[in-house]
């Protein structure tokens, strides 16, 4: 059994080549090999959502995806999404509304919220709550997060008219 695998992928727009253990998860690859520590490891079994990253445009659990599966793919982590400015409105709204406390769930929460708004530009509070149920937050009680996402949804709609 080959325990190591060669992979080539794009991470936050930059080409990356690496030789990885077959068992290495995508989030551990990002954190340990590429030092992209904005994606967090909360449960390692796909429940808490803190490891959420984008793989070819879709959000995935970084702990349930193997690094080897990302061969040939484009991966975007919070660092890339943040530096490109594409979620600046969500970040500003979370800041203004204090929709984060310890910040451990926050990078993944932002990527998840952004995915919702791309799919559904006018979500109700209930729909926001339902979508974000894949991302646990132990600090805020969620109310402020829902407020922040709702305000960005409205602003994006108004800007696109």
């Amino acid at each position: 059994m080959a325990s190591e695998i060669e992979i080539k992928l794009k991470v936050n727009g930059e080409p990356v080549s690496a030789r990885v253990e077959a068992r290495l998860s995508l989030v551990d690859f990002l954190r340990e090999k590429l030092h992209l520590t904005g994606s967090h490891v909360g449960c390692e079994h796909g429940v808490c959502g803190a490891c959420t990253v984008r793989l070819d445009g879709e959000i995935v659990r970084g702990c349930l995806t193997l690094a080897a599966q990302a061969d040939g793919a484009e991966v975007t982590s919070i660092e890339g999404a943040s530096d490109s400015g594409e979620i600046a409105d969500l970040q500003a709204a979370f800041h203004e509304r204090n929709a984060l406390q310890c910040g451990f769930c926050t990078p993944a929460m932002l990527l998840s919220a952004d995915a919702l708004l791309k799919r559904q530009p006018a979500p109700s509070r209930e729909e926001i709550r339902l979508w974000l149920s894949g991302n646990y937050c132990r600090c805020t009680g969620y109310h402020a997060i829902v407020d922040a996402v709702a305000s960005v949804a409205e602003a994006r709609r108004n800007n696109s008219v």
């Binding site: 253990e21 068992r23 954190r31 030092h35 992209l36 520590t37 904005g38 994606s39 967090h40 490891v41 909360g42 449960c43 390692e44 079994h45 429940v47 808490c48 803190a50 982590s77 919070i78 660092e79 943040s82 970040q91 979370f94 800041h95 203004e96 509304r97 204090n98 984060l100 406390q101 310890c102 910040g103 451990f104 769930c105 926050t106 990078p107 932002l110 509070r125 209930e126 926001i128 709550r129 339902l130 974000l132 149920s133 991302n135 646990y136 937050c137 132990r138 600090c139 805020t140 009680g141 969620y142 109310h143 402020a144 997060i145 829902v146």
Partner: protein, 794 residues
């Protein structure tokens, strides 16, 4: 020197007190640029994984390490016996909890393991994966011992004693009696209600697991520990004591901490082992708990069975309360805060919001072979509140009185302060009645009652639950210090004006996401007279911040904030001394506003703080020879007049119960909170909301389930339920303000009030919905199964 300012910090111009400014430290977290322990890497860093006891109670017969030592990447394999040489054991007792006993505890189990998950062997390797691979190759021979799991039989003669040296499984017992309880229950017109309440074990589930990175430099004899912790100075003292290192050679650094809630304020064996390993191996060692380790080794909380009764007169007055608490704390009292505090708080706080003075209570604290239990957010409050408020609703039903009305007839009047609870706790100033009135108005209580009646007729079972409570905040040395623990009740703040007019602010209070850095910056900016963006906060580093307690017991804003206010006044006075010399003006005629020195009378700008800094630091030659500028000051604060600054609050929950499935839908939740001076309304609101949702978790979902052999059955996030966004309600929060006069700032704590009141409000709402059906649920969590059982449907 006169430390009294001309104007109180509450009256300063351009005040930030009471303003919802965003947290300056939140931006990096939003960009994924936080620094949590697992984000740090040090040269030569190794990783540790632990082999843990698979049994709740078992003797270690032998440990075979050969295969593990030969495994790829392994640096060291260390057993408990080997680690004893570098770390002395600890015992979690406090002298003011008289009679509390516990067994000496080691970083790794020595001789036998006392709970499933107790660390037994440490394996250090080049990577965590390799350390885990090697740990799997250890051969540990066990002889299983009978586990003590049921707290109700823990003291029975036929039950084995966990620690033979202690003689029995009783950790602590407290009995209390005040007034004439028997007379209250015997009153001719008394209605007496009795209930048995169960509070399941639950735990904190911080999203960032416990984490530590310890580095030892034998050349300097310097220990540096990066720690996800709430109390860096406390841990500095503990590391120094147990590893035999001078305290000034121990540096504890707490950068970003991914949630704590009381989970990260204790001494954990695996964390002590990690420090021991870094000393033994003379290199950095990192330990990050995985989620299973979190569930089996983070402290658990609650686990109480309480039988309680209350007598009320026909006019609704409480005549007497009696309460008997039995709690299991695991095999050790946790160091150094002990595991007796929760039961003690329950005894102290039950019924404390009401005028009744006839009160009897008993608490029995027993050892058992389960994960150690200790202080978690709101320690004891949710239980005391659920018992008191549950009994009161039963009593109201028994005499046919409305839930609001019976509370109005019993809450301590708003003009009765200062006063004392039956247990002697002092209340300086609370606002129970004003808060309850505000709640009734904001939730439209009467309208909801009408809607409830209308829906009931249509077969929809809605319930309204009310919970009033007091919360202990800003603890003085009477909490821990008096019992011999080296846990600081005081806190300090150092302010330094830099050469360009900015202010460095370091505080002993730590940031866990609650916004401590923001509120302390707001206070400092206000007291000095500079814009908020000129403040740079420094926290969580024992080499670089004033000595202080850190973050626990809702003390950051009230104690750390007051130190910042006093330091701010002192720095402003010193700035004005310099300005007075430069401007040939009396310092009293000047003030600092908006980052500049101005005329006190008309606010006209006289000189910028950048210019003050330039002259003081670079051109002192232009100042008189007998003048020395002092642009760095430190002030400390500890509450003195009252041992604790009590707050009060009231919450309401509106639920709908599906009587066919037992499912509870949370429709709305309201809270009115009085935490004294509100420094940042938004941050207080979000503390309340977050706390409420943790309380809701305890009320409906969270439960560490064990089998009869002491095996944890739900140690994954998929099996242990925490609140998710879809099932949580919107939460409306309002404030009353009764500042404490113990400090100039007047702020009390707000971090735990949400958790204190929410379980009682939710359970009372469920029972309000079920009452017409003749059912009552007093089990936390109130699962669908518990509700269907109460309804007699399963």
């Amino acid at each position: 020197m006169n430390d009294k300012p001309a104007l109180s910090v509450l009256d300063r111009p351009n005040s930030y007190i009471g303003r919802s400014v965003p947290r300056p430290d939140a931006k990096r977290l939003l960009q994924g640029r936080g620094t949590f322990i697992d984000d740090k890497k040090l040269p030569r860093m190794a990783h540790v994984a632990f082999a843990r006891s698979p049994h709740a109670h078992a003797e270690i017969l032998s440990i075979g390490t050969d295969a593990a030592k030969a495994s790829a990447g392994v640096i060291a394999v260390v057993t408990g016996e080997e680690m004893k040489a570098v770390c002395t054991p600890w015992v979690g007792v406090l002298s003011h909890l008289q009679g509390l006993k516990s067994q000496p505890q080691y970083p790794l189990a020595v001789g036998k393991a006392c709970w499933q998950g107790e660390p037994v062997v440490a394996v250090v390797a080049a990577s965590r994966a390799e350390a885990e691979d090697a740990a799997d190759k250890l051969v540990i021979e066990w002889r299983e011992l009978e586990p003590v799991t049921d707290m109700e039989t823990a003291l029975a003669p036929e039950t084995p004693v966990i620690h033979a040296d202690l003689g029995d499984n009783l950790a602590w017992k407290r009995e209390f009696s005040a007034g004439d309880v028997d007379e209250g229950f015997a009153a001719p017109d008394a209605a007496v209600v009795e209930e048995t309440f169960l509070f399941g074990r639950h735990t904190g589930v911080t999203l960032e697991p416990r984490a530590i990175l310890s580095d030892y430099d034998p050349a300097e004899e310097q220990l540096t520990v990066y720690h996800a912790h709430q109390a860096p100075h406390m841990m500095q003292g503990i590391f120094a004591s147990h590893f035999g290192i001078e305290e000034h050679k121990v540096r504890v650094i707490c950068e970003d901490v991914g949630g704590s809630f009381g989970i990260k304020v204790h001494t954990y064996p695996d964390e002590m082992a990690t420090v021991a390993l870094s000393i033994m191996l003379r290199r950095p060692v990192k330990f990050i708990a995985d989620r299973l380790e979190s569930f089996t080794t983070d402290i658990h909380a609650r686990d109480h069975k309480i039988t309680a009764r209350m007598a009320v007169a026909r006019d609704g007055r409480i005549l007497a309360i009696e309460m008997d608490d039995l709690t299991g704390i695991g095999p050790f009292s946790v160091y150094p805060r002990t595991s007796g505090i929760e039961a003690n708080q329950i005894v102290n706080l039950t019924g404390a919001q009401y005028t009744n003075q006839n009160y009897r209570a008993r608490a029995t604290v027993v050892f058992q072979n389960k994960t150690p239990m200790c202080q978690y957010r709101a320690v004891g409050h949710p239980i005391a509140t659920a018992v008191t408020e549950g009994l009161l609703d039963s009593a109201a039903a028994a005499i046919g009185m409305d839930a609001i009305e019976i509370r109005r007839r019993n809450l301590v009047p708003d003009d009765a302060y200062p006063c004392k609870a039956p247990t002697g706790l002092s209340f300086e100033k609370l606002s129970h009645h004003a808060s309850l009135n505000r709640l009734v108005e904001m939730m439209d209580y009467d309208g909801l009652r009408r809607e409830q009646a209308r829906l009931r007729a249509a077969g929809v079972h809605r319930g309204i639950g009310i919970a009033t409570f007091v919360e202990l905040t800003n603890p003085s040395a009477m909490f821990y210090g008096v019992g011999g623990a080296r846990i600081s009740a005081q806190d300090g703040c150092t302010l330094r004006l830099d050469a360009r007019g900015n202010v460095f602010c370091s505080t002993g209070v730590t940031e866990q996401g609650q916004g401590a850095e923001a509120v302390i910056a707001q206070v400092a900016a206000t007291a000095v007279g500079v814009p908020l963006e000129r403040i740079k906060m420094i926290t969580g580093d024992t080499d670089n911040v004033p000595y202080g307690g850190g973050t626990w017991a809702s003390r950051g804003a009230g104690i750390g904030g007051e130190a910042a206010a006093q330091a701010g006044h002192a720095l402003r006075r010193n700035i004005l001394e310099v300005a007075g010399v430069i401007l040939q003006a009396r310092p009293e005629s000047l003030d600092v506003r908006g980052g500049a020195v101005v005329d006190m009378a008309d606010g006209r700008e006289r000189i910028g703080l950048d210019e003050i800094g330039r002259i003081a630091y670079f051109r002192a030659d232009t100042l008189p020879k007998d003048f020395q500028s002092e642009l760095m000051v430190t002030r400390h604060y500890v509450p003195k007049e009252f041992p604790f600054a009590f707050t009060n609050g009231v919450q309401a929950s509106l639920v709908e119960v599906d009587t066919d499935t037992g499912f509870v839908t949370l429709l709305r939740h309201w809270a009115v909170e009085d935490c004294g001076t509100v420094i940042n309304p938004q941050l207080v609101d979000e503390q309340i909301r977050g706390g409420i949702v943790q309380g809701i978790g305890a009320a409906l979902f969270e439960h560490c389930l064990y089998d009869e052999r002491g095996q944890l059955l739900n140690g994954t996030m998929a099996d242990y339920l925490v609140p998710m966004s879809a099932e949580m309600p919107d939460i409306e929060v309002a404030h009353m303000e009764s500042p404490t006069k113990d400090s100039e700032l007047g702020a009390k704590g707000a971090g735990e009030a949400g958790t204190a009141g929410a379980p009682a409000a939710v359970l009372n709402a469920i029972n309000d919905a079920l009452r017409p059906l003749g059912a009552t649920v007093n089990a936390h969590p109130a699962t669908p199964e518990a509700i269907l059982r109460a309804l007699g449907k399963v």
